[in-house]
Amino acid sequence: MLQDLINALSLGSIYLLFALGMSLVWGTVGILNFAHGAIFMFAAFVSSVITDQVRLPLPALIVIGAAVGALLSVAVQLLAFQPIMRRAKDHRSGEMQILIGGIGVAAIPLAIAEEVTGSNPFGFAGSSYVTSTFSLLGVRVTSTQLMVVAAALVIGIGVIVWLRFSRSGLALRSIGVDPETASLMGVNRRVLSLSTMAVAGGLAGLAGVLLTYNLGAITPESGDVLLIKAFAAVILGGVGSMAGVIVGAYVLAVAETIVLTQTSGLWVDAVSFGFIFAVLLFKSEGLFGRREVRRT
């Protein structure tokens, strides 16, 4: 029972690290980035390729992963989302096209990774970091799990504090509510969106490296699965609410763990899809979200 709780906690932390960046961008810049899963996977993939050549410790791989994620994310924003937004008639039709453009862009890193690995799982066999396992009260905890949970909580709370109390956080929230007025108040939307995308990509890269350490290896396709789960976490917590994402990620992980341990079938995936459906139908603003502001 306690073991299940520990597992749910580390699973939820991975969801959280992944979903934070997605929610940050969606709730403020107004972009639902469908390439987020591909960025996450590709950052882990590049780290894996590099550590196959050079034996690197864990912190170095985390830095590489976050940097690759941030660069890719900025590239997607510059090459795909900005041209779409510039040409879109209004935010509503732009939203759809960004969704589709994200799916299209995501196919490129996925294809490259599949090509190089032959669709096989890849890991960090070349890394000098070795996971150590502790046994506490009959519960097995790995050092990677502890790191994942700590990173998720620290970064999650850090983002909340930053958004709420810093000037740049205030500026970012203001473009989420009314981009036009925010611009008039001297907020540089372009720079702010780009740096937000960079932060989100960096978080995705971090999550990719940590998840790969945690699982041993991941497949190129794992980004797609996480994307849907993260979407469920964001929707559950409420779009635009960072506290909501934290709660959403852990609620989803606990629910999945319960389903996994209590049922015999392969119903785990139905949990996230069911959450998406139920929340959208009955409480579309989520647990913590404000009623959606239609941006124009």
Binding site: L32, L79, A80, P83, I84, R87, K89, R92, S93, E95, M96, Q97, L99, I100, G101, I103, G104, V105, A107, I108, L110, A111, I112, E114, E115, D224, I228, F231, I235, G265, L266, W267, D269, A270, F273, G274, I276, F277, L280, L281, S284
Partner: protein, 304 residues
């Protein structure tokens, strides 16, 4: 010609199945409903047709019809459930619906064959049937894009409030979009499973949504012709890209990304634009019937 047909029969069949599948996403978009539920209904149609054929040995037409009937009812119920959702949220809810159909198929036990799916759905469906069905569907859709019906659908898409104030029942039209999409998806799924004789949960996953979406994005989402162009391109492109060897998938991704970003109207939109500007330049060069074309061009293709 006969030899070419024989060697490419699988691709020819896939083109028409792909067309019906792409249409199941294109029709709701034309109604202004961003629903991906057609793919879930593709799964329903495929599984029902396979079960009816394997277990009860129903004839092909009845098996596919049963799948379409069930999918149509599910589509109608779905339309009632998600009626308050719009835009992005509707899109994601219907993607969740598609994936739930996949999970049900995995957990269906003996009925759906679990993770390995169903095998041996043998039926006497031929390419001719497929072509005839596609022709009928295209005929009906082409009719619905013209005249009074076409204008009504366009009004529902572009400005629902205005449409409602003109006495158009917007809610009914949206429900119709869901049901038509469900019928088309189930028809494509049923035909495909009876032609290929197998169906597995992995056949109806997220990648199928992406494939159908790419078809109408690259082809053009304005009209059935766009879906046809898209279905042809994405069925035959992998064969033509063989020369590029290992980088085939990367090229594929680049094409989709470029189309999604720079050509929002798809190839069809590009061609109609080119044709129109050619007409305009010819008119400017001399002839007199100046006021006919601008009117026509406005009615036929306002941008999304």
């Amino acid at each position: 010609m006969i030899a070419w047909y024989d060697t490419n029969i699988i691709l020819i069949q896939s083109t028409f199945v792909g067309l019906l599948m792409a249409l199941s996403l294109q029709v709701p978009i034309r109604f202004g409903v961003f629903s991906f539920a057609g793919i879930g209904c593709y799964g329903i149609g495929a599984y029902v047709a396979a079960i009816m054929t394997i277990r009860y040995e129903w004839p092909a037409a009845a098996a596919i019809g049963a799948g379409m009937l069930i999918a149509g009812v599910v589509g109608y119920l779905l339309a009632l459930t998600v009626r308050r959702l719009g835009g992005l949220y509707l899109g994601m809810a219907t993607i969740a619906f598609d994936l739930i159909v996949g999970v049900l198929a995995v957990n269906g036990g003996d009925l759906t064959g679990g993770p390995s799916g169903l095998f041996g759905a043998l039926a006497d469906v031929t390419t001719l049937h497929l072509v005839l069905i596609s022709a009928v569907v295209i005929g009906l859709l082409a009719y619905s894009e013209r005249g009074a019906i076409g204008r009504r659908v366009e009004a529902v898409r572009e400005d629902p409030e205005l449409a409602a104030s003109m006495g158009i029942d917007v809610r009914r039209h949206r429900q119709a979009a869901f049901v038509i999409s469900a019928l088309l998806g189930a028809c494509a799924g049923g035909l495909n499973v009876l032609l290929r004789t197998t169906i597995a949960p992995t056949d109806i996953g997220f990648s199928l949504v992406v494939l159908a979406l790419t078809m109408i994005i690259v082809g053009g989402s304005r009209s059935w012709a766009g879906a046809l162009i898209g279905a042809m391109i994405f069925t035959w492109l992998p064969g033509f890209l063989e020369f590029s060897g290992q980088w085939q998938k990367v090229i594929y991704g680049v094409i989709v990304a470029l189309a999604a970003i720079w050509v929002p109207g798809g190839l069809l939109g590009m061609m109609t634009d080119a044709y129109r500007s050619w007409q305009r330049s010819r008119r400017d060069a001399g002839s007199g019937d100046g006021d006919r074309t601008p009117l026509g061009s406005r009615a036929e293709g306002t941008p999304a």
